[in-house]
């Protein structure tokens, strides 16, 4: 079961791109075996402070371990898969 948190600043183009990318990836590769929380740091800056986030967008893989932070709009799919611990099967 993947637990993912996507931290964005709503309104940024990179945020929309990241959202699209992660949703597509979750649908195709994780098939329901995931939970994705989207947190808008623009409205909750104290979370940015708490989680020590200094770049956005950032996707945090909370589970399964190890914890990882994947930074950027997630358009580099290979890297995203690597970060999530999934194999790139060329799709």
């Amino acid at each position: 079961m993947y637990i993912l948190k996507l931290y964005i600043l709503a309104g940024h183009s990179t945020s929309d791109v990241a959202l699209n990318n992660i949703r597509r990836l979750c649908d195709t590769r994780l098939e329901g075996q995931y939970r994705l929380d989207v947190i808008d740091l623009a409205t909750q800056p104290e979370i940015a402070e708490q989680e020590r986030i200094y770049m956005t967008p950032v996707l945090v893989k909370v589970s399964p371990l190890p914890a990882r932070r994947i930074i950027g709009d997630l358009s580099e799919t290979k890297r995203v898969l690597q970060g999530l611990g999934l194999h790139d099967d060329g799709k």
Partner: protein
């Protein structure tokens, strides 16, 4: 051009060279090599704002807040207390946070940092923000071609907050070229350089205002010190031209010398007495001090040649009771080996002593002893700084030197020290017809006629007695 309003950084001496502080609501880059004092500069700037009733935000990219709280406590800044009062906020971007592995997988920016900083500013109503340092980020992303654009964007957004912002940057070395920073493309309004160099095996810290947008400042490098319990302090070498010259005359302590000086010394004058060991400098100082005390002038002696017991004994030998003067709160004697401190620290010690005791006369015996521990520049700056400071305070100063050459400078009369020295007195052994006598010559006296002859003098248990001039003596200046 109107003068920009300024913000007090809280570093003594900096307001001198910056003519009032940092321009309000502008961004200043403070650059320097590792260990040059950048973090302290920012912390002092924020602490000063808090002590004046404001609040500050410290964005740290390198040192974790716990380390900073501990280290900066050394300077008397109780950051934890201020945090509890919501006057100080850290925005923690230090390396210790990055426990999890990070992978870059697309386009990103640092706008969330702006969000965090703005949040901290809003929560505390801060008017001062310090960022220490951007170099950490530049280095971490050194392979990223877009990094500069992203940082530039962040800084531009921060400028929009309309507060006074200081950003630090680390330089690799001390070369002057601007490109060493790599920050030319960033829109900073002002640049301050902190240097920490080794000159003849002596450490020398200097600060220089490199660029000030639409605002005046003094050029050049100024020495500074970092003191426990206080922080940074710049030693300004300017200010004498701002005070009015006194026409009040005071006694040198010796009535014959006062005659030669045509009435005594000017109250705010600086006198340099030069002569080899044994020529009578200590006696001259003793009479200067005692003459002053007799008129209720408080005096301080900074002695780098003799110990307190020696000075008391010498003075007693001539009938002057220093101990009584000390007991009457009219005299302080500070005796130390020059090697105990850096020359900048000796300066600050002198300044603090004068601030606390408020003397009318100050003796420094001798400059030559202090010259041993400083680089040429450091020593020259010390003499200029002390002379300027004493003049500004309207204090009558007497400094001694054991030779007419000070530290590789050309003779006293030729060096630029002489512009701040009002009176030069030479004490010499004179050989005449196989006998050795003593001679005293007033070489220079600014603002007054003086008798320009070499006078014979004697020393006995009454002190110094000056009598008739020598005839036929030619070579006394060596």
């Amino acid at each position: 051009m109107t003068m920009a309003s300024k913000v007090d950084v809280g570093i003594p001496g900096f307001d001198h060279i910056s003519l009032g502080g940092l321009p309000t609501n502008q961004t200043t880059l403070v650059a320097g090599i590792a260990g040059s004092g950048k973090t302290i500069f920012i912390a002092q700037f924020l602490a000063t704002g808090i002590q004046a009733g404001g609040a500050g935000v410290f964005v740290t990219f390198e040192e974790p807040p716990a380390n900073l709280r501990e280290n900066l406590m050394n300077f008397g800044w109780n950051i934890s207390a201020w945090e509890k009062e919501n006057r100080w906020r850290f925005v923690d971007v230090s390396t210790s946070v990055r426990d999890e592995e990070e992978i870059i997988a697309g386009n990103f920016d640092f706008d969330v940092l702006y969000t965090r900083i703005k949040h901290a500013v809003d929560q505390t109503q801060a008017d001062r923000v310090g960022i220490d340092s951007l170099s950490a980020l530049l280095y971490a992303f050194r392979d990223d071609r877009m990094i500069r654009n992203r940082l530039r964007r962040l800084i531009l957004k921060l400028k929009g907050l309309g507060l006074t912002l200081i950003i630090t940057a680390e330089r690799d070395g001390e070369s002057v070229s601007n490109s060493t920073f790599g920050f030319e493309e960033f829109v900073t309004d002002n640049v301050v350089l902190l240097r920490n160099t080794l000159e003849n095996e002596k450490r020398r810290r200097t600060i220089e205002i490199f660029k000030y947008r639409s605002s005046q400042h003094y050029n050049g490098k100024y020495p500074f010190v970092i003191e426990d319990g206080r922080g940074m302090m710049v030693i300004p070498l300017v200010g004498t031209h701002q005070h009015k010259s006194s026409s009040e005359r005071v006694t040198s302590g010796n009535t014959q010398l006062d005659d030669i000086l045509n009435g005594g010394l000017y109250r705010d004058s600086i006198t340099l007495a030069s002569g080899a060991s044994g020529t009578g400098k200590t006696l001259l100082c003793t009479e200067f001090v005692s003459g002053g005390v007799a008129k209720n002038d408080r005096c301080v002696i900074f002695s780098f040649e003799e110990s307190l017991p020696q000075l008391l004994r010498n003075a007693n030998g001539w009938g002057y009771d220093y101990q009584q003067m000390i007991d009457n709160d009219l005299l302080q004697i500070h005796s130390a080996f020059p090697e105990t401190k850096s020359i900048e620290d000796h300066y600050t010690h002198i300044q603090r002593t004068v601030e606390a005791f408020e003397p009318k006369r100050v003796v420094i015996d001798s400059l030559s002893a202090l010259a041993r521990i400083a680089s040429e520049d450091g020593f020259r700056e010390f003499v200029i700084a002390v002379s300027s400071y004493l003049k500004m305070k309207g204090i009558t100063g007497l400094m001694t030197a054991t030779t007419s050459r000070l530290m590789g400078l050309s003779t006293i009369t030729e060096s630029n020290i002489s512009t701040l020295t009002d009176v030069i007195i030479l004490l010499r052994y004179i050989e005449i017809d196989n006998a050795v006598g003593r001679g005293i010559l007033v070489l220079k006296m600014r603002g007054s006629e003086h008798a320009k002859k070499l006078y014979r003098f004697h020393i006995n248990d009454q002190g110094m007695t000056i009598s008739a001039p020598f005839d036929n003596v030619t070579d006394v200046l060596s």
